[in-house]
Amino acid sequence: MPRKAINLTCKVEYLSILDETGKLDKKLDPSIPDDLLLRLYRAMLLARRFDERMLVLQRQGKIGTFAPIKGQEAQVGAAAVLEPGDWLVPSFREMPSELWRGKSMESVLFTYGGYNEGGYIPEGINNLPVSIPVGSQTLHAVGLGYAMKYRGDKSVAMVFFGDGATSEGDFHEAMNFAAVFRTPTVFMCQNNHWAISVPRSRQSHSKTLAQKALAYDMPGIQLDGNDVLAVYAGAKEAVDRARSGGGPTLIELVTYRMSMHTTADDPKKYRSEKEVEEWEKRDPIVRFEKYLRGRNLLTDAGVEEMDEDVRNEVREAEERWLEQIGKGVDPLDMFDHAYAEMPPSLRAQKEELERELSEKKR
């Protein structure tokens, strides 16, 4: 046998539907109903306003360190493809998707405000809580997917993670398991170009992140992550495939972290203002708004009204949160939910703390 080329499927495509000016590529129009378009727009706006508000709250010391999502609001296009029975497996930059799927803003404030209460997600909402150890949650989405298949449920697990997460071993193991077991898992990589201070180009030597799918003979695609229509269309294709037994997909959303990594971070140390400005031109909300205005689905008045409405919603959530935390917390709660049933030695520790706290009060 001579030296011969091995025939491999190497297709990795890029999809963008709305350009930076809001112009639609008609051939690619996913034909989303008008009301869904408006709901998507509103969800993006809500996420933006909530994010802005949290930055204020953080600067005022009312909440602790948090991870802004500014610029990555088009992710809701992916969440919007999911059915209620599907599962969302977020990392820490999916607030927009989590809200879309029914998580409350209060619970986000609880978490960032240092209250474990934020982890609770009401029965019926199939979102996992935020996963902070980078990349580790990808495996959970594969296990969920396997279990869905095992149960004969036609559901899908969609897991979000960053460009940095693709460097973790867990990402690789998850991709491999998903491909081997053909689980209904959609890998949604938010390539926002930075992992704290490390640029995408130094995170991996590969030209794209989508092409990492080739290592597993899994479909991989790169989407314009600031174009909610492309995100929706690409996610839909992957979710439909997964649901119909076609197995997993790796999606790379090409987007940008317009704000700091977290509020503890100073991006000026490692990236240029110019780069940020370039990306500001591609703001997913501005672009989408232009498109909707062009289609007369939005008007000046409509935008203003919606913005007002969204701001109210944020304020009301904040107020509810303040009221709830105003009641104070019981530190003894920290022992709750460690186990289904509290082991005796843990009960003893709880009682120890209880005694200490009551002595302190006296």
């Binding site: 599962w87 474990n116 209460e117 982890g119 609770y120 997600i121 009401p122 029965e123 996992l128 809580p129 996963s131 150890p133 580790s136 949650q137 990808t138 495996l139 959970h140 989405a141 594969v142 296990g143 969920l144 997917g145 396997y146 279990a147 869905m148 095992y150 149960r151 697990a157 071993g169 867990d170 193991e173 998850a174 491999n176 398991f177 081997v180 077991f181 709750d336 939910h337 460690a338 186990y339 289904a340 049933e341 082991p343 005796p344 030695s345 843990l346």
Partner: protein
């Protein structure tokens, strides 16, 4: 009641639970077609099919994280780490997720998985195949760490572990896999997780141990009785964590003298916690320092030197004598 060995007893627990509850799935490296490198899962794939007895790719973190995902969906995965020496690859999944998802989600989610792993020395194995690092898991809040010492309690504990609503680390003393047989009833049997057992009553000294070390401990106890008329009370922890200190602190209050035995390296090992609990709860009753007969603070040597590393009956006897002579 058939007399079976620990491998068969674990297999029995798995197959009966799988029979009863279709949410129980078994997964790991070589657990399916091969039936496990120790044959623990032998025959399961034929009975329950490859969807429930899953040969996974070679990736421990993958296996653990994948199991967590399944458990979140309501399955009860029993995953195997082929040897406990490779379970550290999965440490972060267990520490950061399995142990915490109930807490993190305020009770909404739970991770009812079991992570099985053969541990310990005594089988002439290669490097990494003889370690005892149960203390890693025991120190991890949110996990339970269980170690059986006989076919019968292995079977009963594993059934309880599978039914437990929280993640359980199930360390199997591989030296005991085929060391002896025991009557194991075919009918359902469970053992409460979090409870230790007095396996031999005595009044002169308390020996506390678990897992593989129970054999030399019981041997030493027999010898003490037969040769020296010393009656040792022997306690089998069964659950290492959360630790049941009621039983052994009670025994110590009676005997006043305690020797703790395990294969794990001494420092920062489970024995230290036992001593600390004894001091906290039976201080005034202790008539001699508690002795720890354990593995040394080094990597367990390859098998030619393993016997001297492991706490054998002679080392235990010496410690007991010194404790009594104190």
């Amino acid at each position: 009641m058939p007399k079976i060995n620990m491998v068969q007893a674990i297999n029995l627990a798995l197959s009966q639970e799988m029979e009863k509850d279709d949410s129980v799935v078994v997964l790991g490296e070589d657990v399916g077609v091969d039936g496990g490198v120790f044959r623990v899962t032998d025959g399961l794939i034929d009975r329950f099919g490859p969807e429930r007895v899953i040969d996974t790719p070679l990736a421990e973190s993958g296996i653990a994280g994948f199991s967590i995902g399944m458990a979140l969906y309501g399955l009860k995965p029993v995953c195997e780490m082929q040897f406990s020496g490779f379970s550290y690859f999965a440490m972060h999944q267990m520490e950061s997720h399995a142990a915490r998802l109930r807490w993190r989600s305020g009770g909404r989610f739970s991770v009812p998985m079991v992570l099985r792993a053969p541990y310990g020395g005594g089988v002439r194995a290669l490097e990494h195949h003889s370690e005892s690092r149960e203390a890693y898991w025991a120190h991890t809040p949110g996990l339970k760490t269980v170690i059986p010492s006989s076919p019968r309690n292995a079977r009963a504990l594993l059934v309880s572990a599978i039914r437990d609503p929280d993640p359980v680390i199930f360390y199997e003393p591989k030296a005991l896999y085929r060391a002896f047989r025991e009557d194991v009833p075919d009918e359902e049997e469970t053992l409460p997780i979090g409870k230790s057992q007095i396996v031999r009553e005595g009044k002169d000294v308390t020996l506390i141990s678990y897992g593989a070390s129970m054999r030399p401990v019981l041997e030493a106890a027999s010898e003490l009785s037969a040769r020296h008329g010393i009656e040792a009370e022997v306690i089998d922890l069964l659950t290492v964590s959360p630790m049941d200190d009621e039983l052994f602190t009670g025994s110590a209050r009676k005997t006043g003298r305690v020797v703790v035995v395990h294969e794990a390296p001494r420092s920062f090992g489970p024995g230290a916690e036992i001593v600390a609990r004894l001091v906290e709860k039976s201080f005034l009753f202790l008539e001699a320092p508690v002795r720890r007969v354990t593995g040394f603070d080094i990597v367990i040597p390859l098998y030619q030197r393993e016997t001297e590393y492991l706490p054998g009956p002679e080392r235990i006897l010496k410690a007991v004598r010194e404790t009594l002579d104190f």
